[in-house]
């Protein structure tokens, strides 16, 4: 556990004069636990999101207008009736194509290039480093100076798109308060699904607005806060959220899975929605 073939700590021609300590790390705490938990958490989300994105059914509950975030916005003619809140200007998709083709790549990009997730997966999957003061197993390291990792610098563009998609998710959440009456007309209604959608949207906004790029764009890039009092106040608020970016990143992984899972179960008839009002 404590030694590897590649031992950067050992003195060599490349490490002149460093203390000759052969162990990969002398840490005795459970440093491997955090990367392990991160790897399991991220893998769970990636596997679930991939399966559900390609599933192609049980993503919309017509009578309560619940739409899964993995299928929003649904622009294809293949979308089930009622699930396309903004029209179906795209033709029918083959079964192997995700229906939210216009949003999922951006949402994936937003999370892949996120400053928090980068830390998480660099540690968990790339072991670069697996934990602080634990030697990484790679012989060479160039960080984010070269292709493809230099593309991490595009994070702010994914943020812009994620912001727009959060607006769409908010619209989906508001529309879902309109449920179908027995006579077919629309009426106000609240069910457990609405509560789940609301919590998910709040989480998505907190995650999106606490983004480091958002912090920079709103005010971080300024040299003189004193000349921009409004932007300074916004920056202060975003900075407060930003300190909890990791928390929001994990909360939204949970709420996204929960929201989609609940809608899938209701849409497939496995469970019925717990109605609170109408």
């Amino acid at each position: 556990m404590t030694t590897t073939a590649h031992d950067p700590g050992a003195p060599s021609a490349e490490n002149p004069g460093r203390a000759d300590i052969r162990a990969r790390t002398l840490r005795r705490d459970r440093w491997w636990l955090a990367p392990l938990v991160n790897a399991l958490g991220l893998a769970t989300f990636v596997v679930y999101a991939t399966i559900r994105s390609f599933w192609g059914s049980a993503y919309y509950v017509p009578e309560y207008h619940y739409l899964s975030p993995f299928y929003s916005p649904c622009f294809s003619a293949s979308c089930v009736p009622g699930s396309s809140h903004f029209g179906t200007f795209l033709p029918e998709f083959p079964a192997w194509l995700p229906l939210a083709l216009l949003s999922l790549p951006f949402l994936l990009g937003f999370r892949v290039t996120c400053y928090y997730y980068r830390k998480s997966y660099y540690r968990a999957f790339w072991a670069s480093p697996p934990a602080c003061a634990v030697a990484e197993p790679h012989g060479k390291y160039t960080g984010e100076t070269r292709f493809p990792l230099i593309l991490q610098n595009a994070h702010r563009y994914f943020f812009y798109m994620a912001f727009l998609i959060s607006l769409i998710n908010t619209y989906d959440m508001v529309v879902a308060f309109q449920s179908d009456a027995p006579d077919g007309s629309g009426r106000f209604g609240i069910g457990l699904g609405n509560v789940i959608l609301l919590v998910n949207v709040i989480g998505l906004w907190l995650y999106t607005l606490s983004c480091h790029s958002c912090r920079h764009i709103t005010g971080g890039r300024l040299k003189h806060f004193s000349k921009h009092p409004v932007r300074y106040r916004i920056w202060t608020g975003v900075s407060a959220l930003n300190t909890r970016h990791m928390l929001f990143a994990w909360i939204t992984i949970g709420t996204l899975i929960l929201t989609d899972l609940y809608i899938m179960l209701v849409a497939s008839g496995t469970i019925s929605d717990l109605r609170i009002v109408n």
């Binding site: 004069g17 460093r18 790390t25 002398l26 705490d29 790679h138 890039r221």
Partner: protein, 284 residues
């Protein structure tokens, strides 16, 4: 209540060769690891080399690795360990050993000299600097740095890859660049330099520098990531680039501040960077 603790302390010389030497030593209530090292010096190993000064977590001298974790020895309480635990003390792993727990941290001094110093606007002399507190607050956080070099030691970019030392300034000096770039009166454009000369792109924001900072400076969130975003503004953001070309706002601001210089000019030299001294090539 005192007890007798087991210690393993790395003993070696500048060749890097050495070994962990076991000691049994008395521990009194309220003591820190540095107290125990001093007791070892006084009772069992009079020639044990250790660098220390204030014993109050403010001088940054007694950096070492305790049970494999980069720490200030004077700020590591013995009460955080089990009484039957063997405690290992080793020197900082990223820097060459001088003797025992003392390492040669010249790498950091070379990197410090490579950062161009504060560049005030032309025509503004010391004593004439006027800044709003709200503008100073942000870079002020980085002034808490005590230069213990725990962040430099822990950063895997150089800890695990000696060959990156010439290109990478390390978190402490990338933070210094961020501090100056955020300084309300600094007119030098430091963004491209941060990426191209000081190796900001090597940072993969895994936050070990922040984790080990004894001053609890949010190095990654408040210095390195904002600096990366500022580099994106200059190098990787076509929209910002286009906006600057059309409105020339930032350039106008800088011209106003500097007299005639444009953004493409790095700004006043102010006699810096100081030439790297004769310590020799980094890492040697």
């Amino acid at each position: 209540m005192g007890y007798r603790a087991k210690f393993e302390v790395w003993r070696g010389d500048s060749s890097g060769e050495g070994a962990l030497q076991p000691f049994d030593v008395d521990v009194e209530e309220g003591e820190v690891v540095l107290d125990i090292v001093h007791r070892l010096q006084a009772t069992q190993a009079g020639d044990l080399a250790v660098r220390w000064n204030c014993k109050a977590g403010k001088c940054g001298s007694c950096s070492a690795e305790v049970n494999g974790r980069p720490r200030l020895m004077c700020m590591t309480r013995m009460s955080t360990f089990e009484e039957n635990e063997t405690i290992t003390i080793t020197p900082l792993r990223t820097f060459p050993v001088i003797r025992d727990l003392v390492t040669d941290v010249d790498f950091n001094y070379v990197k410090a000299r490579e950062v161009p110093s504060f560049a005030p606007p032309e025509g503004v002399a010391p004593g004439e600097y006027r800044m709003s507190q709200v503008d100073v607050d942000r870079p002020q956080e980085f002034r808490k740095c005590i230069e213990c070099y725990l962040c430099q030691n822990t950063c895997h970019v150089v800890r695990d890859h000696e060959d990156n030392k010439p290109e990478f300034a390390g978190p402490r000096y990338l933070m210094r660049i961020a501090e100056l770039d955020m300084h309300p009166l600094d007119v030098r454009n430091r963004k491209e330099d941060a990426q191209e000369e000081h190796g900001l792109g090597y940072c993969n924001i895994t936050k070990c520098c922040t984790e080990v900072c004894p001053e609890h400076i949010k190095i990654t969130d408040n210095a390195l990531i904002p600096m990366k975003e500022r580099v994106v503004d200059r190098k990787y953001d076509p929209l910002v680039w286009l906006g600057k070309k059309i409105f020339k706002r930032e350039e106008l601001e800088q011209r106003e501040a500097t007299g005639q210089r444009s953004l493409d000019d790095a700004g006043p030299e102010n006699g810096s960077p100081l030439p790297a001294d004769s310590i020799g090539p980094v890492g040697s």
